[in-house]
Symmetry: C2
Subunit: 264 residues, 2 copies
């Protein structure tokens, strides 16, 4: 079944199919108009440090919801959703090392877990398309390309590391419009963090993303970089908490919140 089939489906329906194991792929373009979210789950002993890290790094970690300690079920962005089963693909990190990918993490759930849901740049892609700004990875049916950078995050407690960015090639004449459209949505990463020179932010080879897929950059287009909610995964790898569960890059939690609501 192709991704396009899920474009007009409700988040609740898509999440049910994810829960049932019918969907395990990346979620870009699904449930058009609804916000998607990145996930970080940590034991409570790390929760203060990570909450503070998010407060200090709102460009890469804009929090949409933080669960009550021990609860697998969300309230604000998708009432009653089971965070351990309604994401198509999870990553489990032990001591900062990727231990495995899973389509369901309920077997790993602990009574002291706290879930952090972080805004995702997929939310502004519908707005970019509405404004006639092309979104290449949607055109090409791929995952968005993501890169580690040399942009330092502000540390908090045990958490430290550098920012991960997503990249979209934008025609030169549409770059100002892309900045304005996304700048109006700070809860889903907002304006670009860098425009034009990958080397300046520590990206040695634009053709080999660290996460996701490469997309075509046409003549007359410039690579534009936005802070990315995969940043916490990079931070987890550098900071080495004993246990962390995240989504797999591009495989997001689909919320019941309309993207437009996130402007206010």
């Amino acid at each position: 079944m192709k991704i396009e089939d899920y474009t007009t489906m409700s988040p609740r329906e898509v999440r049910a199919r994810i829960r049932d194991g019918q969907i395990s792929g990346q979620t870009s373009g699904m449930c058009a108009g609804y916000a998607q979210a990145n996930l970080v789950v940590l034991p409570a002993s790390y929760a203060y440090d990570f909450l503070l890290f998010s407060q200090r790094n709102p460009r890469s970690c804009p929090l949409l919801e933080v669960s009550d300690t021990g609860s697998r079920f969300l309230k604000e962005i998708a009432d009653g959703a089971d965070i351990a089963r309604e994401i198509p693909r999870y990553r489990v990190f032990r001591d900062g090392i990727l231990a495995g990918e899973y389509t369901d993490v309920s077997e790993f759930w602990q009574e002291d877990f706290v879930s952090f849901l972080i805004g995702c740049s997929f939310s502004f892609e519908a707005e970019l398309l509405d404004a006639r700004v092309p979104v290449r990875h949607i055109e090409e049916g791929r995952n968005v390309p993501m890169y580690r950078t040399n942009i330092p995050c502000t540390p908090a407690g045990i958490f430290h590391g550098s920012m991960v960015v997503s990249m979209r090639p934008i025609p030169y004449e549409l770059v100002p419009r892309a900045v304005q459209v996304t700048g109006a949505m700070p809860r889903v990463h907002g304006a670009p963090i860098h425009i034009g020179c990958p080397e300046a932010i520590g990206i040695a080879d634009i053709s080999h993303p660290d996460f996701g897929d490469m997309v075509t950059i046409h003549a007359g287009e410039v690579p534009v970089f936005w802070p990315c909610g995969v940043t916490p995964q990079n931070v987890v790898m550098e900071s080495k908490p004993s246990l962390a569960i995240t989504h797999a890059p591009g495989h997001m939690f689909i919320t019941d919140i309309r993207n437009t609501e996130l402007k206010y």
Copy 2:
């Protein structure tokens, strides 16, 4: 010495005079163009709950900075400022009860204190004035009127309570402009939370604010209410942590950040 004398002074100079005891009054209008901030200081055992409370209530508690545990000195919004001495007037709450007001709280400082600096609506007043929207309490040389409401905050851990709002009378024809100007500044409370009917948000008598001073509402003007950083004081009074230190309403911390920076 009149408040106007401090309008063009730098935040660093004004804070030095506060530290030296030369200024102990309210700070509205001081250091034009620079952001002011509300303060909540709590022992570390309450810090996670309060940080989560702020995340869940960004309209009333937009965090500008959270200190490292035990540090009296800020980094981001006023590098090196001593948070225990550079606010003109503090309030100390014990078990939710106001125990006293002080011009210096260094004698109460504990090694486990965490300071939360929260955006203040004073920041958008310069923008309102620039847009030719009147700000009555500045015109009248008073503190802004603030009210307890029946608008519930989203609880987090031990913290719960209702929102406090600030009020500015706005001529009917300028209300849309006031919404647009302030809506562009979410880190300092953003757009109004209510326009026009004090009773609808639990304010029985507009002429008697719970904090600050009453101001004149002229014919043809409507009371407009914004979420207020005094909300945490109301929450402290309801939630009764063993110890909390706040600023006194209207007596703010003056940051080195330009209000305009807070738009991005």
